[in-house]
Amino acid sequence: MNVLPLYAQLINLFAAILLLLSFAMLAQRRVLSLIDLFAAQGLALAASTAIVAFGTGQHHLYWSAGLTLVLKVFLLPWILYRLIRQLDVKWDFERLINVPTTMLIGIVLVVFSFNLAVPISQLASTVTRSTLGIAMACVMLSFLMMITRRKAIPQVIGFLSMENGLFFAATSATYGMPMVVELGIALDVLVGVLILGVFFFQIREQFDSLDLKHLEKLKEGE
């Protein structure tokens, strides 16, 4: 077995950490810890992007790493923290399916996305192509997290973490997207969170709760 260069090994390590954090988020009950985990995921993402930049000499990736760091490790968690403080929702929350079952579904998703990624990563020419499967698994797991949560803030975190997975997929498959696209996405995410924050206030005003099951009442004909 030929030994990969050190930076590739580090990228693999960070990829594994990202996957681990995705699972941790899937199992986490508390909102505040969820935000911390999200910040940690951002940090791992930033670090791996920086390492890709260093290893391959793609200098624009330094910029996206920095952007990720600022946006996902500091800015977004800060906004979410503020939101929680203002909404005063530090509660624990229940879930739709119990933890072991969610985890088992998670494992199945991981197997599925790993297999999905194998043919794609054979086409890609980057050093980091083997991590594509992990990136896809992260996206799937975030999706699963959004499905299993019924409160608003965890769903938003799931959405943000899905974006993390996509970003990582882009980095590993093609060394990232063009700078303009990345900036655009970053801005989108930021604005998206701000708008969702406004929505939260509206939802709570309407229903006195952030439990999304109340949205079921909005359906017609009842």
């Binding site: 990829a15 594994a16 494992i107």
Partner: protein
């Protein structure tokens, strides 16, 4: 198989037998320091074992021979396991007799015997302990085996010395799968060694006991052997952990006695650090309800399976 190999085997086994109670003493000391209590002496476990050997054995009137045989079998199984786990050098002739799967089997053998002995007297606490021990066991065993499988896949061998040889004596590489496996292994070890958060080795509150509930009826030399075997089990798990995740410093082969001599202080250092970390984990975590244990061990199992999958995907 050479004479030196046999000698190194004997030295390792003797070292394991001698150091195991010390490790327990050290963990207890660290626990006491961390929770701001004055610590018991480091050598207390030795004195306890000696004291217990001196005493007259009191056996329940309806105990069967199985009850009296069990401490010896458990001790024998743990010695057998200690002879397989490479702690100082990797040239262990006995390790050919049992690979990692057989090692897990040996632990299971000890567990089944001690659970049967606990049911033998027919007391409420005994059977409660047996049930809980088997419960924790069937959750922990698959996770442990998955951890060992991950290491086996990396090294292409299920024999522990070969795994250590591969991991320790080749070009330095980062294995993300081992990181997962390491976390899983830590969780399993806590459960298997009756540690917080699954069990509490210091408890005597009846309803929370697992391991202690099983050995309630034992006294004197039987209890001494069981305590010693538990210490050996902790020592074995620590050495497996060190061998898989921090294999540096273990001598290759048995020819180089200087390396083996050097391996002793390295091992003691690593064990001291590991024991401190164990005490730290125990101090900062709270004991779980017994029915939270499936969640805890399920997570360990999941991590171990993920480790395998990550290994298969990344090839490292």
């Amino acid at each position: 198989m050479t004479a030196t190999a046999l000698l190194s085997q004997a030295v390792q086994l003797a070292l394991a037998l001698a150091l195991a109670p010390l490790l327990v003493g050290w963990v207890n000391q660290c626990r006491a320091w961390l929770s701001n209590r004055s610590a018991p002496p480091l050598l207390l476990p030795y004195r306890t074992i000696r004291k217990l050997f001196m005493k007259d054995a009191v056996v329940a009137s309806n105990a069967s021979p199985l009850f009296r045989l069990t401490p010896y079998v458990v001790f024998g199984a743990m010695c057998c396991a200690a002879a397989i786990v490479p702690s100082l050098a990797t040239d262990l002739p006995f390790a050919l007799a049992a690979d990692t799967i057989a090692l897990v089997g040996l632990f299971a053998l000890a567990r089944v015997f001690i659970a049967l002995a606990a049911m033998d007297i027919g007391t409420a606490f005994g059977s409660l302990g047996a049930r809980r021990e088997m419960f924790v066991g069937f959750l922990a065993e698959p996770a442990l085996l998955m951890v060992l499988f991950t290491a086996s896949l990396i090294s292409g061998s299920t024999s522990l010395p070969s795994i250590v040889d591969t991991l320790a004596h080749r070009e330095l590489a980062i294995y993300p799968s081992l990181a997962f496996a390491g976390v899983a292994f830590t969780m399993v070890s806590l459960a298997e060694n009756a540690r917080i958060p699954v069990d509490n080795p210091a408890t005597h509150l009846e309803l929370t006991m697992i391991h202690e509930a099983m050995v309630l009826e034992y006294s004197a030399r039987h209890l001494a052997l069981i305590e010693w075997a538990s210490a050996l089990k902790l020592f074995n798990y620590s050495c497996i952990g060190l061998a898989l995740f921090f294999p540096f410093g273990i001598a290759q082969g048995s020819e180089n006695w200087a390396a083996i001599a050097l391996a002793v202080p390295v091992l003691v250092g690593k064990l001291a650090l590991g024991g401190f970390l164990l005490a730290l984990i125990e101090t900062v975590s709270a004991k779980m309800r017994i029915f939270r244990a499936p969640e805890f061990l399920g997570t360990a199992f999941l991590l171990a399976v993920l480790a395998m999958l990550v290994h298969l995907l990344l090839g490292s």
